[in-house]
Subunit: 403 residues, 2 copies
Amino acid sequence: MYKLKCISCGKIYEPSPKIYVCPQCGSRLGTLEVIYDYEKINLKKSDFSPDGDISQFIKVLPINSYVTHLKVGGTPLYKFKNLLGIKEVQIKYDGTNPTASYKDRATAIALAKAYEYNYETIYCASTGNAASSLAGLAASTKLEAFIFVPASAPIAKIAQLYVYGAKVIQIDGTYDEAFDISMKIGEKLNWYSRNSAINPYLLEGKKTGALEVAVQTFYDPPDIVIVGVGDGTVISSLYKGFYDFYKLGLINKIPKIIGVQAENADAIVRTFEKGKPYKPIDIYAKTLADSISVGKPRDVIKACKYVEKSGGTFLRVSDEEIYSAILELAKNTGIFGEPAGAASYAGLKKAIKLGIVDKNEKACIFVTGNGLKDIKAVEKLIKPIKIEPKIEKVLEYINEVKS
Amino acid sequence: MYKLKCISCGKIYEPSPKIYVCPQCGSRLGTLEVIYDYEKINLKKSDFSPDGDISQFIKVLPINSYVTHLKVGGTPLYKFKNLLGIKEVQIKYDGTNPTASYKDRATAIALAKAYEYNYETIYCASTGNAASSLAGLAASTKLEAFIFVPASAPIAKIAQLYVYGAKVIQIDGTYDEAFDISMKIGEKLNWYSRNSAINPYLLEGKKTGALEVAVQTFYDPPDIVIVGVGDGTVISSLYKGFYDFYKLGLINKIPKIIGVQAENADAIVRTFEKGKPYKPIDIYAKTLADSISVGKPRDVIKACKYVEKSGGTFLRVSDEEIYSAILELAKNTGIFGEPAGAASYAGLKKAIKLGIVDKNEKACIFVTGNGLKDIKAVEKLIKPIKIEPKIEKVLEYINEVKS
């Protein structure tokens, strides 16, 4: 039904439980694409519903069966006619997934593969959304989840993993050390890997966000799609999703894909700007948007190639712009995104300013995580005010603040 | 289309912007029911979809039009065959609502009424889910939201309100003082009230949870419905929802409704146990489940009357039982509920133990809020462990913890 193809050398591999990346090009340059024989896949528009979960796309997913009972995907696509002065802003909001982030789409597919390959244990190294997603969705299956984190990770993030009953391995070292150890242990103990970008099927899960946008726009997709970028897998997946539906004749264009990185976590922007042949440029990343704070992105080659093919580009936004975007997005739409999720809104504003998005275009931004995931990020907003419990004092204050 | 009827004296009122409670019986005994002329409402099963938002129920709601673009309701109903030894456990999970709690159902209706009555400002006194729901959903409309909180409320809770652009009035006093001031200011400035139980339309919004369960069970509702109880409005709304659909001929039974309170916040259990005529018994409430930590419940009469009519009852669970329920629910199902949400699971376990639920019955529990709302409640789970970043040390640890 599908094969695996190296994004760098183009070599094709038969799928197997042991193949994660191209053995020749390695884990950095050799992430794999899942390629289908589109002529053998027969799908029509009426096969899909705007509210269905991602299992409705099983014929264009590399899985035989779907294993979680939790509703992954089928998240809302909100449409706004009078926002930021362009024809239409669409917001794909993934904060309603089971663990409140986009990562659940990838995890659902990883769990299905682990079942198919008869693994009993699945693992990842992460402190963020991938970790809570694996912990939460694994709890809905018979699989045991092990999660490697640096011991310094914030308590609130680790707490969720324990709640779901995942086994947490707190490594006294950096994130990179936790990642390296996880890979070695996974191989030694024959565990299935849900490490981002390494596992080629994660991207296939993530592409369902694009498939849903196609269905939810009645197969008339937006002109532009904008998303925050860390490792590069989500943005690659969006291109891939639209590409699949395009090849299947369900849509007749692929949107321009625009990636947004934080100024001080701009590894992929740098690689893209340097041009072809794309070469990873590693940096020390630092941004308040922790889900896209990646210095050593693993899907950088795929991200650059796909964005180029789409006719899109990459942009930088400052942490201040991300911060303002969280508030502006929430006030204007009622959607509270985590910082990395609101980065797409900041990116849209910048793209309009730079003339990359025209006022006659429809743009879709992906808000990939719920703001409740990172309340700490907005706590500095609080102005501690104490008003005496007297009517006249309260009326005075209301007069001051009323808009 | 509908009238308002006092839950205590039975007097019937024509709806008007100025009527919140029965003027004769007052705000405590005189909360109002919305009553319909069922013969004039024509609905069939095929009018509803399992994934639709609550606007699909507009013909049995006291509103002319629906005003938020956010997707409220249409939340998942998960069904488990092998949980806790009974025929079927259904879990209605409202953590996927726009602000991640059941309260969004009520707020959506309050906003619609405020529009209908041409108000420009809407307010409530709350530190919890009602507050964030009003802030979030009001941001999706033209209404301005004012929220009265005690200045001592936790920063994380107040932060969300600011994010959505609500005006927050931090009263230097208790919650009761903030509530009283809010009522006086609301009246003086002609603002619309979204104060729980006071506004009769909130319950009508909340009943949509029951309507959805009816639709999602293909009009064969569960035998038992279990929910955590604070003010008494949610539990009353569940009876009312099933009652409406029963009167409309869409279902042929009303489930037994079981209310669950924390041992040290059991005001309604006490009133129910004392028997008729029901009289509010106020207490000093203290439980970790802050969404049901209510000492002076406002919908106590309605809750007792409706639960009695359904053939159900009220139960107490300890904070330890609620705490264990959060974990057991998350580990067994992948659903992470806030403490008040997991109280229903603790209640189901107790009801089975007490023989109130039989093993041949289907029970539906309502998990009314997302666990991410109250991460603090689970942080004490963390065992700070530091493992050296060495393979053999990690393998040792894995041997210890592997199940």
